[in-house]
């Protein structure tokens, strides 16, 4: 059996590991990727920008790990999938044949379409090369303008700021990440950014990047204002890398459509990770995620199915622990709704599930910079945002994932001026005594 995996991201690596876990040692695995650096931690790029880690730290696997997994690796870009012949064409025109193919090509930043977007000094944050370019520019640059939303725009802002660059962050609407965070949460993030010395501009839309001798010298906004800068960083959303699948006429929507076995409409071709839009038999919907943990699990399941062990992907409740303006924040389950003017479609470290808000009541408690928001459904919690103190984030993750019946504390939670953190902590300790530890899923 010949397996080919396109992509050296976490989905691709997880697929190799799961194929090998089945002791099909005679199966041939070839991995193709066009990132010169292969496999590394993409979320870790944010910590590389701030200087918390060196770039060499971002590589999780050692040479020996790869040797143990026994696969062939070729640095190449795949240019075509020839389904009728079960072959791939590479950029050097080599042809490779496969029995089972995994497309794990990830997603890339939506390009900036404004005039001047190709000037030197216009940057995004997709991969390690981008991060290196940003750091190089930050050494010379004095001022940067950041546009966009979600986690990546903030990571760009904080990375540049921590390198001593003056940062102007432009937001189209009146607050940060409005389709996931509520007003107070946005406010907390904004205040902290301002304390770090970031200048925020609300209701501000970039319409042109200004340049001189091919380099960025400023931006012009819709209201006519101009701002001087030498760096323009953008994160306006991402789009799955679907060109190969589109040309091969696989079924697509916003991502490559796959069933619960991660299989496309061609039974020999699978897709996993940021590129895949995965059918969820429980809700009947197909969802796009851009989360490291989700990509890993989908890659693992795809690998098992490719190697003949039929295994359904069980969509776990999406959650992300991240740092927003220096504040640890966990986003669990469904927490917001609507659109964000700063992001078109989905952003990095984001999940569509977070925005599908059914009827729910919000219980919240906040003091100083610790804040807890819980979305209370009929009998269960639907989602939560935990900012600052993380004591309750793992219990909440489990209460939500396991759909634990919260009726005993529901009324209490929803009454005025209750300390919801105390109620939940107490509820959780009793739960643990009754039913033992819960698995995460």
């Amino acid at each position: 059996m010949k397996h080919i995996i396109i992509g050296t991201g976490v989905a691709g690596i997880a697929a190799i590991e799961s194929i090998r876990s089945l002791h099909n040692q005679s199966d041939d695995i070839t991995v193709l990727g066009d990132d010169p650096h292969g496999y590394y931690s993409r979320p870790g790029l944010a910590y590389y920008l701030t200087g918390e880690v060196l770039d060499k730290t971002l590589f999780p696997k050692k040479r020996a790990d790869f040797i143990n997994l026994n696969f062939k690796y070729k640095k190449a870009r795949v240019t075509k999938i020839i389904r009728a012949e079960k072959k791939l064409e590479l950029d050097d025109k080599t042809l490779l044949s496969y029995d089972k193919l995994l497309i794990a090509t990830g997603a890339s930043a939506l390009p900036l379409t404004a005039h001047g977007a190709n000037l030197e000094g216009v940057v995004k944050l997709d991969h390690l090369e981008d991060a290196r370019r940003i750091l190089k520019l930050a050494k010379r640059g004095k001022t940067a303008v950041v546009v966009g939303g979600g986690i990546t725009a903030l990571e760009l802002t904080e990375g540049l700021r921590s390198r001593g660059v003056n940062v102007h962050y432009l937001l189209r609407g009146d607050r940060y990440w409005s389709n996931v965070l509520d007003e107070q949460e946005s406010q907390i993030v904004q205040t902290r950014l301002q304390e770090e010395g970031v200048t925020l501009h609300f209701h501000s839309e970039l319409i042109e990047v200004l340049g001189k001798s091919g380099k960025v010298i400023g931006v012009r906004l819709q209201d006519g204002r101009t701002l001087k800068c030498n760096i323009l960083a953008y994160a306006i959303g991402i789009k799955p890398r679907m060109n190969l699948a589109r040309d091969a006429e696989l079924k697509l929507e916003r991502g490559i459509l796959v069933n619960e076995f991660m299989q496309t409409n061609d039974p020999n071709i699978y897709a996993a990770g940021d590129v895949a839009q995965v059918y969820d038999p429980i809700t009947g919907r197909s969802i796009l995620d851009s989360l490291w943990g989700v990509a890993r699990e989908q890659g693992r399941v795809a690998g098992l199915n490719m190697a003949g062990q039929i295994t359904p992907y069980i969509k776990s409740m999406p959650f992300n622990v991240t740092r927003l303006a220096g504040l640890t924040t966990t986003i669990i389950g469904t927490v917001g709704y609507g659109e964000d003017k700063d992001v078109l479609g989905i952003a990095r470290g984001d999940s569509e599930t977070w925005r599908q808000l059914p009827n729910a009541i919000v219980a919240q408690s906040g003091f100083d910079v610790n804040r807890l928001r819980i979305l209370v459904g009929e009998k269960t919690f639907i989602g939560a945002v935990v900012m600052g103190d993380q004591t309750l984030s793992i219990p909440l993750q489990k209460i939500i994932a396991n759909k634990i019946d919260i009726s005993p504390i529901r009324d209490n939670l929803l009454s005025h001026n209750t300390k919801i953190a105390d109620i939940i902590a107490d509820f959780w300790s009793k739960q643990k005594m009754v039913e033992g530890n819960y698995a995460t899923r």
């Binding site: 918390e52 730290t57 740092r323």
Partner: protein
Amino acid sequence: MSLLKIFKRSAIRRTVLFAGHVVPDSSRCVQCGICSDNCPIEIDVRAYAWRGESINKNECLTCGECVARCPRGVLRFEKTDLFTTGEK
């Protein structure tokens, strides 16, 4: 020495022997490497987090450096009962 005191002393001894060990929640981990980078004795904490294995190594100083520095709340200490190590 009264019997009660002896009991008490052995109870104290017991709690000392209850050491902690580092346990990861791998679904939160993004493999950034901050933990491994900061371990004073170069244990590859990140590899444990990837496999979802707790660090039962004798060398681990339980200094807590990795637990404190992980930006994603992946790592925590759990009590190990030295008398039953390995049976968890």
